[in-house]
Each structure stands twice: as C-alpha cells, then as structure tokens.
Amino acid sequence: MQPVATTFFFYFLSGLTLLSGVLVITRKNPVHSALALILGLLAQAGLYLMLYAPFVAGVQIILYAGGIMVLFLFVIMLVNIERSQKEEQFNKQWLIGMLSAGALGALFVLVYTKGSGLFPASMAVPVESNNTQQVGVMLYGQYMFAFEIASLLLLVAIIGAVVMAKRRI
C-alpha cells in the first residue's frame, strides 16, 4: 500500500489532535470535553496508521474510543454536572499551573531545537507495513512477563473499581 498525500494527512490529523486537546481542557461541559477527546483519539489512530502501526491504531479505536470513553461518558452522566458547570472552572493555582506547563513546553522546544541532531532527519528505516504479527510475537515472547503483569493489573483495577463504586458489597 503506497501512502497518499502523507504531508497533508499528517498536518490534518495532528491539527485535529491538538485542536481536540485544546477543546478538552477548555470546555465547561464535561460531555463536550469527552466528545472532543474521542475525536482526538480517532485522529491519533489515523496518525498511528501513518506510522505503520495498524495494530496499535486498532487497539486505540476499540479500547480507547469504544471502551474507556464510554466509561467516561457513563460516569459523567451519573454525576450531577449541571451545578459544576456554573462554578468556577479553573482552580486558584491556575497561573502557577500555566507557568509550569509553559516552562515544560519551553523545555521541549529547547530539546527539539538544540538536540535535533539526535533524531534522524527522515523515516530512514522503512518498516514493512505488515508488522501486526511481529507485535504479537513480541507480546507473547519477549514481553510475556509484562503481559501477564498487565493482565493482573487489569484484574486489580476491576476489583478496585467495583469496591470503590459500589455502595453495598
């Protein structure tokens, strides 16, 4: 499969990602934030596809957009949002927060401008597009232990969430 109009799609998708990121942190209504986040996640899945990571893109859609975000929407519907919308949206330390985030951003800019030699100028190594299988082999081979730990983590998270959210067990 030959990629078509790579540059255009990159700018389009990353622009969408960043726009949705801005919307997430500025919207008053959490439902709108969540919708923006979903849009961003889907755009990011597109970026993954452009990076020849189709499996990650699929997992991103099925797990993030289809699973985690539905959970978010559920919870937003359960908690009373009407009151929180009328309140002050930003906390008292917002100025300090912005400053430190700006400092972090400046750090990034510094790293990427000064240290651009660290990164290859182009996508030097053309990875073959069909790498889903290799990812699977690595998951169940080299990273077997981590995989099992991840499953344990999910189990703990399930039990923890149930214990937290249920009133009477």
């Binding site: 499969m1 709108h32 699929g58 099925i62 957009a65 699973g67 929407l73 069909n130």
Partner: protein, 416 residues
C-alpha cells in the same frame, strides 16, 4: 479512459492495496449506494415477511405489493418536521445520529464482497471492523443523554451496557475463528478479511465446520451476540416499545430518526458480513473443493442469473394474479415492468465476463441474505428478554462458552 477502466477490471487486488484513489472512491460510492438500497429493500422485505408470518399482507398500496413503500417512507421522513427538544443539548443531539451512521458505514471499507471487491484490505481488517462498530455505542449514549429525558436516558444506559457486554463474547468468538486461520504450513494467521476467506479456501473447509462442533459453537455464540449488538429482537431492550416507548431515540423525529434506522440496518448487514466472512466462507461458492472442474464452475456461475430469472418469474406470476380491474392497471403494468427489469438483470448475468465478475458478490450477498431473514424470523418468534436476564445470558452463558471454545480451538490447533 476506457483502457484505464478495462485494465483495472483485469486487476487482482483491491483498489486500496493498489493505491488507486480514483477507484477507491468509486468503490466507496458504489458500496454506499448499494448498502443504502439494500437497507431500503430490507425495510420492505422485513415488513412483508413479518406480515406474512403474522397472517397479514403488509404494505400493499404504494406500488404493486408495496414495492415503492420504502421510497414513500423516505419522502415522508425527509419532509417531516425536525424537532429538537428545548432542554436538549443541541450540539450532541445533532451529532449522535451522525456518529451511528458513520460508524456503521465506515465498516464497509474492509468488507470483502469478492477477492478484489473490497475498498481496501487492511491487515487488521477484523479488528478494525469490531472497533469501528463498537463506536456506535457512543452515538447511543449521546443520543440518550442529549435528549434530556428519562426514557431515552434509561434506554441508552441499557443499550450501551448491553452492547459493551456482548462485544466481549463476540470478540472471543471472533478470536477462535482467527486462530483457525493459522492452521496452515507456515503457521501464521491473519486478521485481514480477505486473508481469512483465503485461509478457508486453502484449508478446504468453512470454519463453521472446522473442528466440528467447535467452529459451529463459536459461530452460534457470534450469531447470538450480533443480534444483541445490533439491538434487534429478542434483545431489543433499548427500544423496547412496550416499556420505554422507543428507547434512546424517543425524542428524535423525521430525518434524524431515519438516520438511526439507516444506521441500525446498515449495522445489521455489516455484522452479518463479518459472520459470513469468518465462518461461512465469504465469497466462496458452495463446495469449491469437492465439486471442481469447469463443468461445475459453469453450473455454479449460472446461479446468479437463474436466481434473478426466478425472481422475475415470481413477479410475473404476481402480474398474472393481479385483479383484472381497470383500477389495478397501473399497478399491473408496474409489476410487469419490475418483472422485466429482474429478468433483464438475470439475462445480463448470463454474459460470460459479467458472470465471472459477479459470482463472488452473488454468493456473498446470498449468505448475508440468510442472516437478514433470520433477523426477521427472530423478531416474529421471540418475546423480549428482561434486562437482567440479558446480562446473565451475555456474561454467564455466552462468554464462558466462547472462552471454552477458544481454549479448545487453541489446544486442537496445537495437537493436530
């Protein structure tokens, strides 16, 4: 230009793989139009078949035997007033049906109607399909929440819980079919939709019959879960008419409501396509390996033409049986015209080049059609599950069965 087209027709990859944007666009348009027409036809067929299950006639007035009823419905829905409740969240209310529609139509990108008849062949095809079709939950949740009303909210909560629960069992059943694709010499499986069908061709068996009854059980789990996934009877709780009036789309009307319906039917066809691709050999004709040879190839390639001729014959019998009253003259002529069109299509399908290209699509469509009929049949037969029973079936029955089948398939795959 003509050369360009004919040269394409000789190709044996999908337009997406060939990187041919023009052809991909044309395919997308064809698929989109085809699915929309199929939805309209399905609408008519459902009303007719359901009516005959229930000793009624169904639509009879608009066109001969109500053939034009879907068009009349579409016009009615398009011209209806579009009501948005005052208290609704307008933006979300507006987007929700679009999300459902997009989710169910995007899936068609990877559905292989034939070895080359797909928009593209992603190598994560089946994962993509499950992922994108799971996005329609979002639309349901948003529709219920944005309506700002009790019944839609309960309906959407029910619906999303149901869809998420059944996705798990569905995914497990799908995985056991994908495992079967790796049972070849190289030992590598595939997630690509075309690859899955080709694996069935190589192994000379539909996965439905592979490791009998394991493949069949996985298929059955999928077939039940997909009915729940598309919110159809007997799992149509979210739109349980008698309980929640119309579930999550109670507050919708006119065009927006029709988008929900379009999405629902498109999703039905899409999940049926997954089932056909995974277990019923996709576009493969029956007995591709036992009844081989040019003679059998010819016999099977004549099926599409004869099917259409048969339909034309049925329509023609309808023409003869029309009452001989001047009042029915236009209807009779319309039905005769319809019969003629069907017959003409049938004749076109006998032309050798067309015959060869169209065969795959025909078998695929025929298999999907069986599922569509099953949907109608379920709806006419079963009462509706209660919510807790539905959850019980999903988590306590289907999921353990699916996981058991998955484990057994894996063991058998290693042993054999």
């Amino acid at each position: 230009m003509l050369d360009y087209i004919t040269s394409y027709l000789g190709m044996n990859t999908t337009p997406g793989q060939a990187g041919n944007v023009l052809w991909a666009l044309i395919y997308i348009l064809i698929v989109f139009a085809g699915v929309s027409v199929a939805v309209m036809a399905m609408n008519w067929l459902e009303r007719k078949a359901l009516a005959h299950f229930q000793i009624r006639l169904g639509p009879m007035r608009v066109g001969p035997h109500g053939l034009l009823q879907p068009i009349a419905d579409a016009v009615k829905l398009l011209t209806k007033e579009d009501i948005i409740p005052d208290e609704a969240d307008r933006l979300v209310f507006w987007i929700a049906p679009l999300i459902i529609l997009c989710a169910s139509f995007t899936v068609y990108i990877v559905i292989p109607f034939g070895p080359t008849h797909a928009v593209t062949d992603l190598n994560i095809g089946i994962l993509f399909m499950l992922g994108v079709s799971s996005l329609s939950v979002l639309g349901v949740v948003m529709a219920g929440w944005a309506s700002n009303s009790h019944y839609p909210l309960i309906g959407s909560l029910r619906s999303s819980a149901q869809m998420i629960s059944y996705e798990v069992a569905m995914g497990m059943a799908v995985v056991s079919a994908i495992l079967m694709t790796s049972l070849n010499k190289s030992g590598t499986g595939t997630l690509s939709m075309i690859g899955i069908v080709e694996a069935q061709q190589q192994q000379q068996i539909w996965f439905l019959f592979k490791f009998f009854p394991l493949g069949f059980i996985a298929f059955a789990v999928f077939a039940i879960a997909m009915v729940a996934e598309t919110n159809r009877a007997p799992f149509d709780l979210p739109e349980a008419e008698s309980e929640l009036t119309a579930g999550f789309h109670t507050e919708y009307s006119g065009l927006r409501w029709s988008l929900f319906m379009l999405g629902e039917y498109a999703a039905m066809i899409a999940v049926s396509s997954i089932a056909v691709t995974l277990w019923l050999g996709g576009w493969l004709r029956p007995f591709p390996n036992t009844l081989t040879g040019p003679a059998w190839d010819l016999v099977f390639s004549l099926f599409p033409g004869f099917t259409f001729l048969g339909l034309a014959l049925i329509a023609f019998i309808g023409v003869i049986r029309m009452p001989k009253h001047p009042y029915f003259r236009i209807q009779t002529m319309g039905l005769a015209g319809f019969a003629a069109v069907l017959g003409l299509i049938g004749l076109i399908l006998f032309i050798p080049p067309v015959r060869d290209r169209i065969q795959d699509i025909f078998w695929f469509t025929a298999k999907v059609g069986v599922f569509m009929y099953l949907y109608i049949w379920y709806r006419a037969t079963f009462p509706r599950y209660r919510f807790d029973q539905l959850m019980k079936v999903g988590w306590k029955v289907l999921l353990p069965i699916a996981i058991g089948v998955l484990i057994l398939t894996a063991i058998l795959g290693v042993v054999l």
